[in-house]
């Protein structure tokens, strides 16, 4: 691994950690419930990106499967929470 890729991956992991902290702060201080829903969705996407970057760091494609699962369940969770806020029931 060349130094440019090493430090690029380090910088990307740092930036994604900062992004996840920002989303976590909005999740904690969000004044309304819909703020918390989009903050959790953003947190899911940032975690998925961090999984992809970790897959490059460890040169393993297992992290790719984890990223796929996070993307799938993040969408299902956000849609279920939005449905609950809209109708008061998840499955009617």
């Amino acid at each position: 691994m060349t130094p440019i890729l090493f430090w690029g991956l380090k910088a990307a992991l740092f930036l994604l950690a900062v992004a996840m902290l920002c989303a976590l702060a909005r999740l904690l201080i969000g004044p309304t419930a819909q703020d918390r829903v989009i903050a959790l969705d953003c947190l899911y996407i940032n975690g998925m990106l961090m999984m992809l970057v970790l897959g490059i760091v460890y040169a393993s494609s297992v992290y790719f499967e984890a990223a796929m699962l996070i993307a799938l369940f993040g969408f299902v969770g956000s849609a279920a929470m939005a449905k609950f806020l809209l109708r008061g029931e998840v499955i009617e």
Binding site: L5, G8, A19, C22, Q34, C42, F64, F75, K83, L85
Partner: protein
């Protein structure tokens, strides 16, 4: 770290590093906007930056990195791009409907009212008297 890492050419390493840093920067800017914007209706725009350009850049970096490892073309990561590109607008529209629904139940004049179907929004008029 295994030995196959040394097999990737220099241009692939440079392209991977640049794309990963660009994607992570977009995600960081989007999440910072999510934290920084004042109202919900402005706040919902920010994370789409990370959900589109961030995801595309980092999946492209993944494709370039794993395709130059000597195991053939690695195109599975395009699945993530397409999936996130498909579901992020759905989530955004859904949460937007939720916010409008919840805000319209409160008497707040700043919340936009729904326009009438098929017409341009008319100025507010008193409702017609109901015939008994």
């Amino acid at each position: 770290m295994n030995d196959t890492l040394a097999a990737s050419p220099l241009w692939a390493d440079i392209a991977t590093a640049v794309l990963v840093v660009v994607g992570a920067s977009f995600a960081a800017v989007g999440s910072f906007g999510l934290l920084r914007m004042p109202t919900f209706y402005r706040r919902i725009h920010a994370p789409t930056l990370g959900a589109t350009l961030g995801v595309w850049s980092i999946t492209l970096a993944t494709i370039i990195f794993f395709s130059t490892q000597g195991y053939g073309l690695f195109l599975h990561a395009v699945l993530i791009s397409f999936f996130v590109g498909l579901t992020a607008p759905i989530t955004t529209i859904f949460v937007m409907r939720v916010a409008l629904f919840r805000d319209r139940r409160k008497p707040d004049p700043k919340v936009p009212v729904p326009p009438a179907f098929g017409t341009t929004p008319a100025p507010a008029q008193p409702p017609p008297a109901e015939a008994p």
